[in-house]
Subunit: 745 residues, 2 copies
């Protein structure tokens, strides 16, 4: 609260909110004909808070670390001559990296100036801006641009250009009062207006796209509008080029997020997009508070940040669904800004552990408020909980379920069930896919993207061709593949046409259970999957997963249920054979990239597959019939440049089936202690697993773990809303219940 | 010091040492005809110290944690009925694990009794011992014993029987005063004497073996002798069955360790053997101080512990040379006892960080002294330094060199150059092998043993057949293999006949350099390798390795220089081809277990091979000629049970060569930051690498890193002692120096 007074002088934020309508009417008067750039900072760090940061740095560890970091980077930059090279290289190349470094240097130097008032730092920014102002107007489109990809001038792609402006306009905002009028005019007219024009007018299509590239563009241009006092720019940024609200920032907020704050491209890109969303929102709130942007869509931006944080495993890594780099955690730069602004605006105490873990804040009004709050808080453990996250602008395009249960040691068994929409161009064909973690450890993994970001030797750090031929294909995921073809034929356009349907979801205390159906991934096949996480009353501290995957068609098909695991095979309940040479499993749709490493035909009953990873054992127990075939695989076939990681898979195949239900129990068990040299429970605990009832409407699975009772899970196989009454007779026993399922002894 | 007073009453340790000779003469009088078992504890925890631990537990975190652990384990054991099953199962099976658990339970219960005086804990031990005394005399050899492997009665192998006695006699030592005379006689006569007889007489061969199995046997029987007051037993333990010193504990100390304290089987087994060595020595010191066992062989036991600790990487894991399980750290149980006793006896402050890191102590006189000392000390970082460790009883059978240099961040570049002797039955055929770590991270690894310890599904947890067919073979190591056959034909007997010869070693400040020769690994080939770790003056914080490996013969051979790396291939300077199927690289000697994953023929010049592992890049730059062939490999061929981890290799092959020198630079470089999405120096820095001079006596390698001067390393290729003068003319420049090598600009 104290910093609001500093920032707004006599005006309190609460007053501004109440006075919203009035301000909106008066707004035209706010924009002067004279450049507003003569005034102090207008974006996310005010002069008052900059001074407060300077004062409070020593007493606050978060502020101190954050400021020292910017100072070190800035001082380092000031020691070198300014260089603005002629754009030549693609991503990862020298000029690309240099222009990226230049905006980071300017931003850090501007922060140091704003906080400490050191004139050399402002001078550095001014000089570099003047240099850019000299060069920029004469630049053609970048020589390394790609066909069918929006080009930039400083960079091979327009996206980087918008990011450059996003940071640089913030830097300018902080130092502009130190620059003489003539130089300001040069910088504003030759650089910022020309660049904003390039991004918003010459690159009209990207600017009006409902996509993260569009968000970077409107955020950069919109903030430039505030700093330059150019209302036309900000209006186009907020409402789209035609100012009709059909594109632009608000429309992006409407369409790219679900009501639960899920971003349609998935967490990896949500992590990237959250930065311009939150920072531009913060700039809007500072300049046009009447828009009440943080209240927009029932406080959508709050949900967006919380949902994003929840979409991480116990290792704080974003779940690598869709195109994603796997090491990315919520400590990334973008989240520093986003969590700070979310805390400042929503005062959500649950965010503070993340901020304390991160160990630094953004040097901004939000960062200052957050640092003060975090200093008075305790704990660095972020609480993750089970939840259902809807997808689609109206929340009707499927979603993602997070199922989480702690074991005896407090480690979460942590499943992600994906029945979300396609997620645009970066989406993978993984309908009804499953990811499973045992605490920080991947049990059933997603390959993520085939890409070595910014490693020039790996195709310039771009997405590799194997991203399309393998990583996006259904076989690279823990889902069902029919006839060795990917969902929707591996075509984004087809995949974007429909989304899976949630059948039911119950995140109760004893059992978390979600069921979803995908009817259009294949022309004449309906897929449905039910994922249950539970523990038996006899062993409440040993959660496991029951996985029921059904494929149904009027014509016979080959159904492959795939599990991607990492670790070393320990044991199987069945015989298998290995060939002396490794040949590819198939010829297309990703199958050409898998070596078949072994083959088994277990016969009717249960097939148990057990592996060891980092001191824990895991088993998949799957029901088999006389025709079931099992394949062990390893990625890396048809991969001339060693672009693929050699990950392992276990595939359950049923040929010539119309209606088939795959029933599996997936369980962590036991451990290996290399110091004590002890091994506990290296074998699966499942002693019985059977389908004990099945008709068109119901399915019952009975299972028993060692030294325990038998339990029966009965599910309704259709969409269930409310609590309808059911009655199923299994053998001599009649089971009655209300709702979607029941579990009985 | 204070605890010495408690333990020895009026006698001070220093006095005892000075009075050593006198005590030795009087010793016969010390052994009474009456059983000494009526007296208090005689082994490693005295009554006085037990009381002191009870008093000081609350004030000392190490004591507290250690005592609480034993108490929890003991209390848990006391809650269950005593069960002494009829021996039936092999390692990992129920009766095996139960008998192991029984000795651990008795030991913990006895400790709790000794420290707290709780009668129930002593009663538990007594009851279990009586039960064993009932069963033991009637036991035949174990039904699951193996041919050609010494059998036990409680366990499938005699080794476990000795370990059982080792712990159980300590437990009895602590509770015996609580047991009535009749029960004591039963326990001593029916159990301990019979078991000691089985171990020392019936298993005469093992008892008299110079091997860790022998050490466990003599330690167990020797301590039993002290507790039962049976001088014959202790004499046989210390001097061998014939009491002539040709076998037994002292002989083991003489023959199994080098003067530097290196144990011939390597660190993994040294870790195991150190426990009976140190604990029995402690018992000897308590009962026969005149033997001055801790002074023996110039304080050998001190060197043994320090050398063992130094044989760990930055992750505290023992280097996995020879048969070794890779996760084993110095936090293992055995090291708790060993480091405590070493600290108590030698007061070596450098051990305290290890003890603080371990976070617990043994509940013993040594543990008590150590806990008090550690509480007053600071730091948990154990200092590792470069060192030469000799092998062989007289230090003349080669050795191991540890080369360590910190980089800018303090991370150690850490190489192990192995030119040690065979190391008996657990030795690998890896003469002149190299291991390289970058801090905790493996750069060039050793496969370790093919074994999943105690995992019953993996051949009962024993060494797998692939241990012999792959893991022990030369191709599983970073060394040179001639004609696709292993060193010494893969035969232990042949390998045990000779050891490599150290040519020179210089662990200077700017460069660490070691050269060794192996003349008998192949009938008519002489191998020599020089490993240098250095940094250039221009980049003193970027250490790297120069590796010069020469093979020389009068007849032509195929020479394969193998590098086992882990990570993902990023880039090569040469073209390579991949087959569409993966076939084995060879047919025997481990080659049958490697898939050939790619093949290249780089032509004359330099071949650069670059990979990424966990955010760091690594390159091997190797000189090639027009006939050089390069193979990429992956383990796992001919492996029907998936017993092998799919590790990767890079192999440089020269065919039809008589005399060939492989020259390589191995360097860590750059990094990948997934949070900032930045990549630095993803390519090798080596811009030039050439052999600029070569004759029979000298070899000069000239190299240059990017933006640096060229440097030339000239080495003398023969054995160098002292500082002979050399003079080599390279081009127009004459280089003079003293010693084994020089490096010039």
């Amino acid at each position: 609260m104290i910093y609001d007074l500093i920032k707004n002088g006599i005006l309190k934020k609460t007053f501004l909110l109440r006075a919203g309508l009035l301000v909106m009417i008066l707004m035209p008067l706010v924009f002067h004909a004279q450049p507003v750039s003569e005034k102090g900072p207008r974006l996310i760090l005010s002069a008052g808070i900059a001074g407060a940061i300077d004062r409070d740095t020593e007493g606050n560890r978060l502020l101190d670390r954050s400021f020292r970091y910017a100072e070190r980077k800035a001082d380092e930059a000031l020691r070198h001559a300014i260089e603005v090279p002629v754009p030549a290289d693609p991503g990862g190349g020298y000029t690309h990296e240099k222009h990226k470094k230049n905006y980071a240097d300017m931003y850090n130097a501007a922060l140091v100036f704003a906080i400490t008032g050191k004139p050399a730092h402002a001078e550095f920014v001014k000089k570099m801006l003047l240099r850019y102002a000299e060069v920029y107007p004469g630049l053609p489109l970048h020589p390394a641009r790609k066909e069918n990809h929006p080009a930039g001038k400083l960079f091979w792609q327009g996206l980087n250009e918008a990011v450059w402006l996003f940071y640089t306009i913030q830097a300018y905002d902080l130092v502009k009062t130190e620059i003489g009028r003539k130089d300001r005019e040069t910088i504003e007219n030759e650089l910022f207006r020309k660049m904003a024009h390039f991004i918003s007018v010459e690159s009209y299509e990207t600017f009006n796209k409902i996509h993260n590239h569009g968000t970077w563009a409107v955020a950069a241009v919109g903030m430039t509008g505030y700093v330059l006092g150019d209302r036309d720019m900000t209006e186009r940024a907020i409402k789209g080029s035609d100012k009709d609200g059909k594109t632009g920032f608000l429309k992006q907020l409407d369409e790219l997020f679900s009501p639960d704050g899920y971003y349609s491209e998935g967490p990896y890109y949500q992590r990237y997009a959250i930065l311009p969303f939150m920072v531009f929102a913060e700039a809007i709130e500072e300049n046009q508070p009447a828009l009440e942007i943080f209240e927009y869509r029932d406080r959508l931006l709050h949900k967006a940040v919380v949902t994003l944080l929840q979409l991480t495993n116990s290792n704080n890594e974003f779940y690598p669904i869709n195109d994603a780099i796997k090491d990315k955690t919520y400590f990334s730069e973008e989240l520093v800004f986003a969590t700070n602004i979310a805390y400042e605006r929503y005062e959500d105490q649950s965010l503070l552990p993340v901020i304390r873990q991160t160990g630094r804040v953004s040097l901004s009004n939000a960062g200052y408020a957050t640092a003060l709050a975090a200093a008075g808080s305790k704990g660095t453990s972020y609480e993750r909980s089970s939840r259902l996250i809807s997808d689609g602008p109206s929340g009707k395009q499927g979603g993602i379920a997070l199922l989480r249960m702690p074991d005896a040691s407090g480690t979460l068994l942590d499943a992600l069930f994906k029945f979300a929409s396609q997620g645009m161009g970066h989406g993978h064909f993984d309908r009804l896919g499953l990811l499973l973690y045992d605490g920080p450890q991947e049990v059933l993994g997603d390959y993520g993207a085939a890409r070595f970001l910014n490693v020039e030797a790996k195709d310039g750090g771009r997405y590799l061709k194997e991203n399309k031929t393998y990583a996006k294909q259904s076989i690279a995921h823990n889902t069902l593949i029919a006839d060795e073809t990917s969902h929707y034929g591996g075509k984004v356009k087809q995949g974007s046409g429909s989304a899976p349907e949630l059948l039911f979801c119950d995140l109760g205390e004893d059992i978390h259970m979600v069921s979803a159906r995908e009817g259009r991934a294949y022309k004449d096949i309906e897929l449905s999957r039910t994922v249950a996480m539970l523990a038996t009353p006899e062993a409440p501290e040993h959660p496991f997963v029951i996985d029921i995957f059904r494929a149904r068609s009027d014509t016979p098909h080959q159904y492959d249920l795939n599990f991607q695991y990492s670790g070393q095979l320990m044991d199987t309940s069945f015989e298998y054979t290995r060939d002396s040479v490794l040949a590819p499993l198939g010829t297309a749709n990703g199958y050409q990239h898998l070596f078949k490493t072994a083959y088994g035909k277990p016969g009717a009953g249960r097939a148990v597959f057990t592996w060891l990873r980092d001191k824990r054992f895991y088993s998949i127990t799957t029901l088999t019939d006389s025709s079931t075939e099992l394949f062990f695989t390893q990625a890396g076939a048809g991969d001339p440049d060693f672009n693929l990681r050699p990950e392992k898979g276990y595939l359950v195949r049923q040929r010539d089936k119309r209606d088939h239900v795959f029933v599996s129990i997936i369980e962590p068990h036991g451990n290996f202690d290399p110091q004590l040299e002890t091994v506990q429970h290296p074998g699966s605990g499942v002693e019985m697993l059977e389908v004990t009832y099945r008709d068109d409407k119901y399915l019952a699975v009975t299972f028993r773990f060692r030294n325990q009772q038998a339990h029966t899970l009965v599910i309704c196989r259709d969409k269930v809303t409310g609590t309808p009454e059911h009655r199923v007779t299994i053998g001599s026993k009649t089971i009655r219940w209300k709702g979607a399922y029941t579990i009985t002894q």
